[in-house]
Symmetry: C2
Subunit: 370 residues, 2 copies
């Protein structure tokens, strides 16, 4: 008796996973974290109206979700001033990236991204046999110029950029992104991952014509809207590309409770405004803690602050390890020279005070190991 | 400016979707259905404890779900008397079927199923370029013998069978399935879709060794547990196959609320027992309505009754159309000779009384059109 015959592509894939989740780490530690600041989740939670809508929807969860996510797409279309045909809803940006890569990338096809950018995108590209070409960050920013040049050079089918960026928290102006779109090589599609855009300064979001075939922008309810666990992402793109998702997506894949929650969250823009204020304040506090400890916080347009530990990647990894050991869940960039930093999501008052309490201990321990 | 360059495989895929959802039909009708009996959802809903757990989890939905679905997998392992390493949780059986096909099916690979069996499985196979080989039903049952013969003939990588079956409601004994597994050709994997097993007579579920590499069984919280909209399915298989899913799945794709709901639902077996009783009673009532109208209800081990309308597929399609026009959402098999039937999910008292009220009108209208 033998097992299934996997495809050659699958047989050659590594068994690694993009991220180790905090619950997995907690099980390995044998105790829970005291502050959960590593996954850029929104500690401020979803709108109370979204929570209420999800509780209501739980009673009706015997029904499959609407395969078209019609009400949500209609509301999103109104919100963005586009047509419903410009909007595809999916199981988080992660899910949508998977579908998009499947639509476009055949084994051997070239894809361009930044070295150290979103690992889950790379996971999908590798998973469909694509060849990743990576360009370095420039001054802790993704480098539109280098991405475009590399894409032209290798004939990339996809180019990935996040604005604002994760893991560095840096961002480009709307004008820079617009200029980038204007220079996307013929035959390439730009993926503009705007997961953190709700937390960025006004004017960071580029204005893009709804029928522009050169770009697909991705948004999420996981960050500003505080619904990471609900798995609701969406993309805005030309109607032809949106329609193509119907060829491959899991049509009844959306959780009905999540659909209801996202719709209620979208309608409560007051809550999003409140979250923006709280995030900005917490960013400042986090930066102050970093400076109090002689570290350098990087400017951020997101719900996290990337903190330059001022030494090598090895040192930052020690700091991270000492933080995690002491119950503070954080993550860090994994490519030099960005790996001189740790990445800390913003927290509530007690999260921040725990971080402020533990950071000096972690730094002292890391220095004693150096 | 051109759009993205799709893969050759995707460019050749049809734009059709496996199912048109009831909400889509309601929007086309311009009014809601009065009875929702077409998608084999559980009108009796989820356990009240699951509803409560989902309401609680909604408050914590700012956190991503556990990427390993650890607690749920542990509980499922205990429930089934297997190890956690035998269980993979995914976004419904639909999601798991998609991952499995991706793992195994490369363009041109052979897959065997029954002509008229689950369309979403076929959608995934076609979507990855597989070649579907279909064998006919035998006496309204899927035909293990014919499936095995065809699989051996074409060198199938996957064989699909549902027990109990959808759309016919028929089932095979555990012994028949066990014998089928023993004869799976070398190099083939049997997919045993047990979505409806919770509603089948005791002894329908085959006993399968947890390290048997020839079969993967799929289960769901969508049917008996009444949580279709939550999108929680799972598969039980040998550890090597379970581990392979980690190479391609959306690791953070599970809704945190759904994970919590499924765990609570699993722990409330009393509710499942109650649902089994209500389903059995409603099946009898539905069958009686059919007989009262001179139609022949087929035996069912599921939460639906497939009703033989006694004439051609064209006639049954007319009956279905007249039911839908009058606000009763039902579906039907789409391959002859099974398409002489309509498929009606069990309902609550008011659903059944609406069906009983409308069915004679629909039959009369269909006959007048004949």
């Amino acid at each position: 008796m033998t097992g299934p015959r996997y495809t050659d592509l699958v047989a050659g894939l590594p068994a690694t996973v993009p991220f180790v989740g905090p619950e997995t780490q907690e099980r390995e530690r044998g105790k829970p974290f005291i502050a959960r600041l590593g996954a850029n989740e929104s500690v401020f939670g979803p709108s109370p109206k979204a929570i209420e809508a999800m509780g209501e929807a739980a009673r009706e969860v015997w029904k499959y979700g609407d395969a078209q996510s019609y009400d949500l797409r209609q509301a999103l279309a109104t919100y963005h001033g586009v047509a419903m045909e410009n909007i595809i809803v999916g199981e988080g940006i992660d899910g949508l990236l998977g579908y998009l890569v499947r639509l476009v990338v055949a084994p051997g096809d070239a894809v361009v991204t930044s070295d150290g950018a979103y690992p889950t995108f790379n996971y999908h590209v590798t998973g469909y046999g694509g060849l990743l070409h990576k360009v370095p960050y420039r001054n802790d920013h993704e480098d539109p110029e280098a991405l475009l040049e590399k894409a032209a050079e290798v004939g990339a089918k996809l180019i990935y950029i996040a604005n604002p960026d994760n893991p560095m928290g840096s961002w480009h102006s709307a004008e820079t992104i617009t200029r980038m779109i204007d220079r996307v090589p013929e035959g390439s599609l730009l993926i503009l991952d705007e997961a953190y855009i709700d937390l960025a300064p006004e004017g960071t979001a580029a204005v893009i014509a709804s029928d522009d075939p050169r770009v697909i922008r991705m948004r999420t309810f996981s960050k500003g809207y505080g619904m990471a666990g609900a798995r609701v992402g969406y993309a805005i793109a030309a109607p032809g590309l949106v329609a193509a998702f119907d060829k491959v997506r899991n049509h009844f894949g959306m959780c009905r409770i999540s659909q209801a929650g996202a719709l209620a969250a979208l309608h409560d823009q007051h809550w999003l405004t409140e979250v923006r204020i709280r995030v900005a304040r917490a960013r400042d506090e986090l930066a102050a803690v970093a400076r109090d400890n002689g570290l350098h916080p990087l400017p951020s347009a997101t719900n996290f602050v990337t903190i330059d530990c001022g030494q090598t990647g090895d040192f930052a990894r020690k700091v991270l390890n000492e933080l995690v050991t002491r119950g503070i869940f954080v993550r860090m960039p994994f490519v030099a020279p960005q790996d001189r930093c740790i990445r800390v999501s913003v927290g509530r008052a007690h999260d921040l005070s725990e971080f402020a309490r533990v950071l000096p201990q972690a730094l002292a321990a890391a220095r004693s190991l150096a």
